[in-house]
Each structure stands twice: as C-alpha cells, then as structure tokens.
Amino acid sequence: MAVQALDGTRVPIDWQRLAMPAVLIVVGYGLIPAYASSYLVEAILLPFLALSLAAVGLNLLTGYCGQLSLGSSAFMAVGAFAAYNFNLRIDGLPLPATMILAGISAAGIGVVFGLPSLRLRGFYLAVSTLAAQFFVQWALTKFGWFSNYNPSGVISAPHLIVAGFPLDGATGRYLLSVTTVIVLTAVVWRLVNSATGRNFIAVRDNETAARVIGVPVLRTKLLAFAISSFIIGVAGVLWAFTYLRTVEPAGFNLDRSFQILFIIIIGGLASMRGAFLGAAFIVVFPLLLSRIGAFAFGDLFDSGVLDMSQRIVLGALIIIFLIAEPSGLSALFDRLKRRIG
C-alpha cells in the first residue's frame, strides 16, 4: 500500500512507524475513556498530561536550546490566570481560542523574562528566570483584578464546552487534555525536527559557531522562550481547568518549577519521549511509594514520613540520574529495547 505525496510520487507506508501512534490512539481515545476509573483519570492521568505538556515546553527551551529556566511554574500561572480572565471577560469566546490566547499571553511574558538570556548563560540565566517566578506570583496576589477580586486570589475553572459538547465530567476533561497534549506535542515534534529546531541545538552546542555561520542567535533564543512559554502556559490552563479546577497563585510556586525541571532531567533532556516518561514517573512515584510504604511498615508510614521519604528518594534519584544516566529514562528505555529486540 502507498500514499500519494504532495509532489505526486507514491510513498510506501512505513507500518512500523505507524504502529506506535496507532496503539496510542486506540488506548487514548478508546480504552481509557471507556474503561478507566475516575480515580485513574482524576488522580493520575490529568496531572500526568498537564505535567507532560509543561515538560515538553521546558524541554524545548532547556533540552534543545540549552537555556536553563526555573520559571516554568510562573508561565503555567500566566496561562491559567490569562485563560480565566479571557473566558470571564470576553463573552462567548470558544475554549480553544481561550487556550490559544492564554498561551500567547504566557509567550509574551516568556519573551520578556527571556531577554536576560541575550547576556547571561547557564547558572546566571537560571537565577534571572527566578525573577519571573517571584514577580508573577507577586503580581497575581497583589492585583485582585487577575482573580476577579477573589479575597484569597483563588480562581475556579469555568464550564468547559467545545463546539457545544460539555466536557466538565472526568472523561470530558480527559479528552480535552489528551487532545491538547497530542496536538501541541505534534507541533513541537515538527519544530524540533525542522531547521528551526536545528538552530536551537546549534545555539545550545556552540553559540559562537552558530553566530558565525549565520544562525540568528538572539532571535533563536527569544523564539525558544516564546514557544516554550506558550506550551507551558497551555499546560497551566490544563492544570487549572481540567485537573485541579480551583487554583491560587501560591499553587504555582518554585516547587512546581523544580518538579518540571526534574521531569526533564529524569526523563531525558532533548527527548520528546523523555518528557512523558519523566512526568509519568513523577506522578506515579509518590503513589507507589505510599503503597509500598504502607505495605512494608503499616501504620508507621504516615503522611509525614511519606512526604519526607518521597523527597529523599527523589533527590537521590536525581543525583543518580545525573551521574549514571544523564540522558535519562529515555536512554534507559532505548537500551532496554535494544536488549529485548
């Protein structure tokens, strides 16, 4: 079997390459909506999808373009609060348009806080992105307008309707999330495999050589900040509207930024798959730990111990990954596949 390509030639279909996406679509749109319990969707899949998308966004900036950022959760907050306000203040704005506008708002803020990257590198840039983290949280708390003058700055998700279909139930929110993640991941996939994506990698690997051969270094860095922040902003909308349903600025704190950074370190820098593997790990790991802890130690393993042991094990894992497998779960996965296949 073959398909007609745009230039008229017939291209054979590569079934092996299509197998994986096909399985994902059957599972994602068929099996999960039909059979998954609401606990699985609400407690695991929704946070997994939102965090995966945020990690895809950060990976574009940090993994591919080499610009270290600790402001991810600020851009999630901008996305969430922008979506809330667009939805509140523009009557009848469709949800997809709200999400796009929220992403654009986050991209704008991302470019502003990306400006230091033109002069600063590495550790110093990371510290300067902390400014985004503190500034955004402060602004959202300080100016009541952003939360429609809610006394504690909390925003609640509006009714989610796309093209007349209400998506407020667990399954509906799941479908909204998974579709958004698939579409944006496909866009990022196209981007990193294009000439623009290779410019990102060129800037990351050797900025001087990149400039000399004509890569527009400044424009490339700001573009990386813009697109990355757009994606993270939309991830913030998913986090607020489909997973938590009510959020406050304090929910988007530095811990969240670190969590997303850990996801891409554990999953694998500059790997699309890594963002998903890392996010799955970060979401499932505490649940597993609490089950194992409860099984092994019974009542001794209370929530305080759980929280502490979670931090200890996660910290140790990050150190182990940085030393033993800097390319993360993604590379581990590849090696496993080679050994089996």
Binding site: V187, R190, L191, R198, D205, R211, V212, I213, V217
Partner: protein, 301 residues
C-alpha cells in the same frame, strides 16, 4: 630601575598617542580604499592592532588576499595568528585598523553578518554541534540562506520544503566531495577527531563562501590525515574557486600548499611573499629557530 620604569611610562604614553593618531589616520584609509577597490582583492587589512590587558597581540598588521589564492599566515605560538582570524571573522574587535571584505570596509566586522558577506571559517578547537548528525551539521552551514519562518517549517509550507530540498542537495554534494558518505548519518560527536575536522571544513564549504578562513585545520592530525586534508583544501580552491586564508603552525604543510605566506612574530608581520621567498628570509629563520644571535649580537650560527 628608575630608568626602566620611566622608559615604560614613556612607552605607554607613546603607544597611546600613536593609537589616537592611528584612529584618524587618513593614510590607512586611503591605502585601504585603494586596495579594496581592486576587484582582485577579496580581503584587505590595514594597520590592524589589538591588545589584551596591555599585551599587544597584534600591531600594525597589513594583509591583502587576492581572489583564488591560498594565503597562509604562519608564526610561532602566540604570534597572533588566531587573533587575526578572530578579527577577520568579527569575534574580536580590533583596537585600530580597518578590514575590507569584498570592497566593504569595516572597523569591526559584524560576526552575525559574516556568512552573508561571503566569509566562512573553521575553528582551531572543534566547534561542531555535537547533538546533530554529520549531515545536519553540514546543512547548518547554509542557514544564512534560509528565509522561511518557524511557522512555515512546522506546517511544511512550500517555501520551507523547497529550502530544505535545496540545502539537502548542496549538503549531499559536499558530503560526496569530502568522502563523508559512510558517516553522514552518525552523530558528529561520535566521530574521531580527524573526521570531525573534515566535517567542520564541510560545514564551511557548503556555504559557498568567497573567502574561507581555516584556523589550524591540520592541528593534531597524523601525517596521513594532514596530507588528506591538504588535498581537500587544494581541491576546494581548484574546484569551487574559493579564496582561502590558512592559519597554520606546521610550516612544512604550508610551504607546499600556499601561494603566498605571511609570517607573524610577536604580533608583527615580519615577512610576506611566496613560500620560497619566506623560507629564505633571515627574520623568519630567526623567529622559527629562536634567536640566531647571541647576547652581544654576534652571529652564533
């Protein structure tokens, strides 16, 4: 002691004064205008000087490079060869002097416009993009010809696709020219050093520059690799007509390969001419073999 410090102070003042004079030196400008208006001169440097923290790396260096020649710049370690190439490519900014590239005169060459000015370069220490394949590293060399935006790339619009196709074709030609077919799809970081040097040459050549700057392209290579690389450099000039400036430490390689040789020592140009002329120049022999004169000036050869 006092005399020495006075002398140093006077020397500093004198160099300051000469710097002020040099900035507005009409003779330099006129000489450069005359040189750069000649159609057969691709690159003309006049009165180039640069200091790092008070140490003069280059002073009053002139150099002109004619179309289609292989022009070597040699000199002992620390003679200022790399400073010179970094000034031509805009990575360093000369304190004084002017640079004319293909008729356009600059006091500071804009590095970000270098590729569009028709200049490509390689680096003394490899400067490849380790996370990209050999082919993609080479393709990056034509990034200055791209016009399509990232949106066109994501959507796969016609302009992005035709750019990709054109660049892929040019890349294939260079891959074949430099015999890189067997490693073209490997990550560049996994290649041995000699091949990585060749990939860097490929990335520079694919830009189809008028002027190619090679910063020690044979450094650290085995004798066989050196001969191979020299063959590629000569072939690049013969087949693509590119003008080449070759910075090299290894004097033997240079003599057989280049049309004219300039010799730098302690930041000054001490000789300039054909390889035969330069080889016979007593100043060059002194610079290379060390001081050929004893303490009191007597000839110790």
């Amino acid at each position: 002691m006092i005399g020495a410090s006075l002398g140093a102070a006077a020397y500093e003042r004198a160099s300051e004064i000469s710097a002020i004079l040099a900035v507005a030196n009409p003779v330099d400008d006129r000489r450069l205008a005359r040189l750069s208006s000649r159609p057969d001169v691709v690159l003309a440097l006049s009165g180039i000087g640069i200091s790092f923290g008070g140490v003069k790396a280059l002073s009053d260096v002139d150099l002109e490079v004619e179309v289609g020649e292989i022009r070597a710049v040699i000199g002992p370690n620390g003679a200022g060869k790399s400073s010179l190439i970094n000034i031509i490519s805009g990575l360093y900014h000369a304190d004084r002097g002017r640079i004319a590239i293909d008729g356009q005169s600059f006091s500071q060459v804009p590095a970000s416009r270098l590729a569009r000015l028709g200049v490509a370069r390689t680096f003394q220490n490899l400067a490849l993009f380790g996370g990209l394949s050999v082919r993609n590293n080479i393709a990056c060399g034509r990034v200055h010809t791209r016009r399509a935006s990232f949106v066109e790339h994501i959507a796969g619009l016609p302009r992005a696709r035709s750019e990709d196709a054109g660049i892929a074709e040019k890349t294939d030609q260079i891959v074949a020219f430099l015999h890189l077919e067997s490693v073209a799809d490997r990550l560049v970081a996994t290649l041995p050093y000699g091949l990585q040097k060749r990939v860097e040459l490929a990335r520079a050549l694919v830009a189809e520059p008028k002027l190619l700057l090679l910063d020690e392209p044979m450094a650290g290579m085995t004798a066989t690799e050196k001969a191979e690389m020299a063959g590629f450099v000569r072939a690049a000039r013969d087949r693509h007509g590119v003008t080449i400036i070759l910075i090299e430490h290894d004097i033997g390689v240079v003599m057989g390969l280049s049309d004219r040789v300039a010799v730098l020592d302690y930041g000054r140009k001490i000789a300039d001419g054909t390889p035969a002329e330069v080889r016979a120049d007593p100043a060059v022999i002194r610079a290379y073999i060390g001081t050929a004169e004893g303490e009191n000036g007597e000839d110790i050869r």
